[in-house]
Symmetry: D2
Subunit: 399 residues, 4 copies
């Protein structure tokens, strides 16, 4: 995919955002609020997906493979950023987490049979999926703590444990989970865990509740707490091999973190636009906010921080393309620390500019803040990434 | 009221918090969630209020007057702080906003008839009240912008306008509002507005919706948007006199801001306690969080910031007692800037310490964050208070 | 000493500062710059000291004792703060570090003979002293690292080692040092060190150089690097007993840290005054800086931070008086972290307000910044104090 | 100049830095300190320049022109950054301010005669130059305030006024100044000023003093305060034309700001390296600083901030090359705000890691801090650049 092609895709995407996605946001919210069943797909999403797919704006996240658009991470970056501007956009283009990461796992590590059964309908957005990793009982920021049990038993595996923040598992169309658990407690630390494909309709799976983020339930996807009691899956549902869970996780998390960062940047950009617009319109103490020094400083700092975060994240995407997950891990960690913290600051300034409207749902800002706040924890908390960056720095040769 | 008496009250209050209030928090939440009607008083609140009243832990906010406990602001400070530790506590002791401010207004500025009709049942917590000031259409941080109309008409006044963030107006027991509007656009800037008592059952009042704060509806009090269409009230419902709305507002806002700050400090203290407890229990990368340098720094900074905010706010309370609202206005403004920002930082660190649990409703932290965030806007945004502090500094003589 | 007496002392002190000290600052600088010998006492200091002593504004730092003013730390606090406003003031009133701490050590731990020999002339400002603790070779923030050797040898002790940042040792009138060294490496960690009185004219002492602070040599006191080679002192020059060096250090450091904090507050207050004055005078882009929102925010934040730091430090002084060094250690640590960091921020904003003049010696600001920066390291770096505060918080009972 | 050529130049430059420049730093300092005359060129500089010139590492800053290396700003960026690592390096390669900016002005705006007379010896480093713009009497951050007088008189111009911070004017080889003054107070605001070439030996020029930065005199270049009394220069010493001073200033300041930023990044990078080295070596409380969480966080944040500043500044260089000064002005302003503030934070953390050594001249850190602090003021203070960035954002179309 050439740069030109990517630029043209971006233009197409932005045009479609303007014509179809932004106007649909209110419709989506309304359909969700007025539906009898809260955990149902608002119909407007199906319509948007059909249209986006028809335009070729579909599965753009997938790198070189038989399955996807074949964009590099760097080429995908501005597209992913643009999608981040709207809560509903990533799904419109079938580029939303956790499905993207799961599709990548299927594309890279699953058997042809599993790909046929799960990857194909995922790529068509006919079904949704979840990623069952985090556990309430342990500090999951140190993933070696993950303790859900995977036990070999005859022709298959038996799973037991409790997961939470399995985002998307509450969606009515969620049909499959990827599950991380400990298969061999006696193995070396990073070889104890395995990853398995688990159909949602397997007996023993119980969605206990959906967690809220601040006061948002994030329906119809939500964040589920899921109990696994003697859940039995066939042996061929194991991915890559026993003890190779972290290996897969590494591959999955690099682009996954990158996408989160890119969406954070898009969202921050939209918050800044909203802040600028508001600052021009709102008059207080005799002049518009946009002429008041403190507000101008907020605007300037926001522009500075967004641009810096974008340059850092695009650079990480480039390194990821050129040198792979491991070599790019410090760049990815830096972007992961920078992007959500930046977005939180920008959104917070926008809230302050909007006054009380900013904390309500009359603007998108409070929900945006809540969502971004989770990203200082999800996929590794800031302090774990900082420790990793420091270790990289300390390890540089010649010092 | 001597310091000893205040210390003894604090002990009583803390004992009651431990024995009755904290254990009731979950009950309150459950009753709220399980009620058929969301906007109803959970029965546990009535029980707690009865008990607190029986113990004399009641209306402690009211300064020297015929009506209340007669505590000075400084004596009330640690009590108010202690109440701030629990979302439900201020109401348990009949010390919750906006009723406290409204009761003060009734006590200081209302006729005996209005006091008999409204103040007495408010002091008995038989009814609730709202304060209708902020408007969606104007930047209310500059209160001279307030534009709801108060028009003299025969024997009474006719009100027209749209208010929002009229907290508590959605409560089923809310029976009266205090209303700020413009009665004379041709008067000097600070003499254009008046304040009126408006019974909720007056024809023409319509609660249009309840606004949410970061996804929380804050039922059963909530934050209402209220439309006033040709609402007619008798002339004797005017407080103090035409054009004297700001005069009342000044008196009302001083202690009101102070109470917000004190509750912020109590809440931050509780967040720090929760963080410390979590840090001791949670093990990651081979040792408890409480032994990790970065987390220790969070704890130290939180302790430093809480103590500084408390000293500043108690000092403001003392100045308010000794020198009055006007003389203490810079101290109050400083506390108003410091306390919620401090609380937000402390709560944010606590969230980070709790990981994903911190953003959910399994802890009180996300809701605490949302509530504190509104206080950087309510009763004047940070930047307006900062500008006022700067002006005070610039005006000091001899420079 | 009653509060009234302290208030009257403060008034006297401020009057004398205005009439004599501020006007002498330029004279002092000039005499220093124009002297043939840079490391000589500018004559104006002698004159100021004589006058201050005559007014009873002398040795105010000394707590209840046979020797000094008998002010509590809390009563001394505003006096010390006021002195901090001028670089030359503390010495004018014989209240400057390290002499104050050394005089306290003499008053509390030295024999009558040593007091007669050294304390008396120090109290009369006839001589100056130094405190030889920090070493270039070890991380002195962890004082158990201190490794200069104290060896018993016949009738006396023999000292060997290298010290630096022995402030004041370069002063021409410096006649005595208090020396911390390791006397017994085999003892428990906090019993290995002893403190000794060392006359400056003892053979084997060599001032190797004076260190600068951000380019400032701080003559005529300076910060000396001192080599001790087989320096022999009589056994009766040992303070308190072998292995009790840290015990003395604890007593010395509490008030010492407090005084630094108080002076930081006074200096910050003066920087804010200078900033306010400049902001009113300087016109840019058509209006004075004092009307520009960003500068107003600097002023407001400075006022807020100064007041908070003062309240915290005064509170620490009060706790120190009431409960002693050990009980007040967390309050002292908090003040020690807060005060210099606050002062640095305030001074930095003042520099920015002054533009290029602010970084030059046309204002006192750059030198003030340099001095305050050392206080984030001296008497324990920020991060060590923060760790101690966190440990205190974690150790609170009932958690 | 291709990227490859630039990469090869960088390698050469870094090799020469390692072999010749770093080892010469101490020599330079020693020669300066031990010279009889402080304002003299240390001989080692001549030697280094001769060698650098011989290697072709010379005048690399000059963009496409008849005179210089012809590197684009983007190609020069890593070279300039590398030079910024050492205080003496920019001059070694004849790439130091203010000569670089002055040479550009001569190359672009001066007559052939003036070029022959001044540019040639400047390019050969035979002479030095100064830029006389900032004035003590007015807020020079708003350059329209500049009030030194340029009066037409017969065959020439007569200059009167007082300038300060004319860096380099104190150097013994400084032979020429570029002077900005007001030639027509009645013209439109941005057409009132002109720029002139002024030989240093013109009668009426008096260097009144050299200003210090914090306590550093920055000899032998320094920062001079220069008085102009009836200084008469020939009419052909006018650059570009009367009233076109700002036009030249704009062209001069773009690359000048960029170079400052690049050097800040190089210096910060060296500070981080020093911090990392120190953290590995220094043991406190039983383990090296490099294993203590707080220090690791300093290291991580420094890496993150340096990389972000570099990406932003390189991007600004690229935009400057592609679209010119005016189109790149917001990117340049952003870099100008970000780079010195970043460097100050990184250097400050390094100071804290080094303890007391960090504030002395045993490390390069205190001097580095002082120098960077001036860059938040020089070429426009932060707040002016932020205001400009905000205006750019507010002006974007479609909002």
């Amino acid at each position: 995919m050439t740069t030109t092609a990517s630029a043209s895709l971006l233009e197409q995407l932005e045009t479609f955002m303007a014509s179809d996605v932004y106007p649909a946001e209110a419709v989506y919210a309304e359909q969700l609020d007025e539906a009898e069943e809260r955990w149902a797909q608002p119909p407007v999403m199906d319509a948007l997906q059909a249209k986006a797919r028809g335009l070729g704006l579909w599965n753009l996240f997938l790198p070189e493979s038989d399955w996807g658009a074949g964009l590099s991470n760097r080429a995908y970056a501005p597209l992913c950023e643009a999608m981040g501007r709207s809560f509903i956009a990533p799904e419109v283009f079938n580029c939303s987490a956790p499905d993207t990461g799961n599709m990548e796992v299927f594309a890279r590590y699953a058997s042809a049979a599993l790909q046929e059964r799960w990857l194909k309908p995922l790529l068509a957005a006919e079904i949704r999926s979840g990623f069952a990793m985090t556990e309430p009982g342990v500090a999951s920021s140190d993933a070696t703590n993950i303790s859900a049990e995977i036990r070999r038993d005859g022709e298959g595996y038996v799973l037991n444990g409790r997961k939470w923040w399995t985002s998307g598992a509450g969606h009515p169309r969620c049909e499959v989970l990827i599950f991380l658990g400990r298969s061999d407690p006696s193995a070396p630390k990073h070889r104890q865990h395995s990853m398995l494909v688990v159909p949602m309709d397997t007996p023993g799976i119980r969605i206990e509740r959906n967690l809220s983020v601040f006061g948002y339930d994030d329906a119809p996807h939500g964040h589920a707490e899921v109990v696994f009691e003697n859940v039995r899956v066939p042996a061929d549902h194991l991915l890559l091999g026993e003890g190779r869970g972290f290996e897969i996780g590494q591959g999955r998390l690099g682009p996954g973190r990158l996408h989160h960062c890119l969406r954070s940047i898009g969202l921050a950009e939209r918050a800044l636009e909203a802040m600028v617009k508001r600052a021009k319109e709102r008059v207080t103490f005799g002049k518009p906010l946009s002429e008041q020094g403190v507000v101008m400083e907020w605007i300037a700092d926001s522009r500075i921080e967004i641009d810096q975060a974008r340059l850092l994240t695009y650079d990480a995407a480039d390194k990821l393309d050129k040198f792979g997950n491991k070599a790019a891990r410090y760049e990815l960690a830096m972007a992961k620390v920078v992007a959500p913290n930046m977005a939180l600051r920008v959104i917070d300034r926008a809230i302050q500019t909007f006054g009380a409207a900013g904390v309500s749902d009359d603007t998108f800002l409070a929900k945006a803040y809540a969502g971004q706040r989770t990203l200082r924890l999800a996929d590794g908390p800031d302090e774990v990434h900082r420790a990793s960056i420091a270790k990289g720095e300390l390890a540089k040769s010649g010092r």
